[in-house]
Symmetry: C2
Subunit: 388 residues, 2 copies
Amino acid sequence: MSKQVPTLDERPPDVGELTPPDRTLMGPGPSDVHPRVLRAMSTPLVGHLDPSFVEIMDEVQELLRYAFRTDNRWTIPVSGTGSASMEAAIGNLVEPGDTMLVPTNGYFGGRMRSMAERAGGDVVEVDAPWGEPLDPVDVERAFDEHQPDVFGFVHAETSTGVRQPDVSELTDIAHAHDAYVIADCVTSLGGVEMRVDEWGVDVAYSAPQKCLSCPPGASPLTLNDRAMEKVLSREERARSWYLDLSLLEGYWGDERAYHHTAPITNVYALREALRLVAEEGIEDRWDRHRAVAGELKAGLRDLGLEMNAAEECWLPSLNAVRVPDGVDDAAVIDRLLDEYDLEIASGLGDLEGEIWRIGCMGRSARRENVEYLLAALADALAEQGYEA
Amino acid sequence: MSKQVPTLDERPPDVGELTPPDRTLMGPGPSDVHPRVLRAMSTPLVGHLDPSFVEIMDEVQELLRYAFRTDNRWTIPVSGTGSASMEAAIGNLVEPGDTMLVPTNGYFGGRMRSMAERAGGDVVEVDAPWGEPLDPVDVERAFDEHQPDVFGFVHAETSTGVRQPDVSELTDIAHAHDAYVIADCVTSLGGVEMRVDEWGVDVAYSAPQKCLSCPPGASPLTLNDRAMEKVLSREERARSWYLDLSLLEGYWGDERAYHHTAPITNVYALREALRLVAEEGIEDRWDRHRAVAGELKAGLRDLGLEMNAAEECWLPSLNAVRVPDGVDDAAVIDRLLDEYDLEIASGLGDLEGEIWRIGCMGRSARRENVEYLLAALADALAEQGYEA
């Protein structure tokens, strides 16, 4: 076989200074990052096995437990973005031959399906329309019909702005059927009430760039002992070496043995972001998100806009707003970005073109951001000829 | 099933300011990070689909191609630490039923084995002792015997301080057998000569915290078209959703479609670290590593110490030094850390207790670091009663 002929331009690329625009982030994440967290990221590194880093790991674990409202020993940041902690949860819990029950009421249920299938699992579904929560009656029926081993649900659906109420009801059903519950808390952790232990959630994962307002790269995961026992007694190893929790246990557990090089700076950042959570107090933080997002919601209504989700499943951290008839959703998004340096997002999947997604997370859940967004949105709508 | 009883301490953890010690990093990575890279990490974020971020992605890809000495279109940072780019390479190239040939001459060949097995591959080995490179004769023999589909080798073995010479010889053998070559360049990219295109490497992966002197979290990977065609024509999907290159292609390719949230800040940092590579010039950078590590090596010899690897496979970025008889390797490491805030590492696996591993990578490949290390090491050896 002939070798590739080198045709390389030998000159180094001429890439200038890093000068990204100064955005206000009100989309589905990342959210605005607190200056203290940015500063933490410029801290010089220690080694990933340095005794001082082991202390930092302990602190991050303790702070994560506080945010998750759990005593779970197995509470760690996974070395990757939110989808990595998601796959760590699903890829370790689901063994070949296991059946996993996943929801169809949003984008991330579909991702659960794909991850469970790749893990060697069989997947069954519990249905609800995009924009609505799961009905416990349907979940019960799906359990009776399929007897799944693992049940995944999305506590805070970033694609639809729906909060799943009645978490305890769902976990009760699952546990009555001896199943394990995995909760997607990507858009709730640190912003919307989630009580892992009290609500009987076996495994929960999240991402840092949402309500924790931390740059992505190290993602929260917690498993109770029951779930970890399933992981540690697997017959076949997890299909990812990188995300194998039985190996990660060696690094984050008592042994502190080398597995991979942790993303040290991201752990520094997460620590600082979680310190801010602890300083504010987790319940006060939930209250702030509800209050500030409540102002946002009221302002959107004053503009004549309609929320997509029903009031009882409103997700303060992610507000799905219906695009009014005759308004070009993409043109509004572009105008906000171009004229106001303000990011919001369009709908995904079944809701593409029908909603805007306006985040109100962490440091972005501030009155400054909300007032700015409402003013900018009013202008962008007027520019489209829309009248409230 | 009874619910867990909540026993949570409701008080937030009291975790103080982040004040890690000020280390000099001369271990196997991370290396010292350049202040410009640290500063880039404190840059406020834009969204991962922001048009300005798409430009940054293009720039990072261009800079990575320069560092890898490749024109490969599929040159990206993987959203995780080096083991993630390693698993992205192996987990996508190796399909169930494929045979992968891996080396046994260091720690990372063993990791290749585990990843290939988890990908559903059969694994065969080509042997060489820890501390020696592969012999092309043995590789040829293994190819004739096993006809592997994929061949992995470690260009720069972090566990043994061995550089694999004759890369073209190995890739010629593999290509004559229609196999794909994956090169582990974790400890060579940006510090030790590696010419992906000229040397016929199909897939190469690396990590940022070694010779690029960038915090870990976004890890270089490059595939040529031939390798990417294998990935895109897999019969069965890759077993990891997070690391599935056919999905990542949608984000890093022309489409720029959402797959997962990229670790934005890590990409910023990698961009700045790669700009420093471009400013220095890749060949000058290789020369600097050889020159500065040469000073280190001479200084170690003056102390009466012996290098573990033979001169022709010396790896400037990772210097494996034999622990002299009667010296406690761990006590020396501890003293350097405690008294000098200086990190070096012990041996792994077959070389545990027999060597120290002294990195000389990126910003740590400076005369300041080398002189400091030699002085500190002389003191720590003297403290052990050792005389040159």
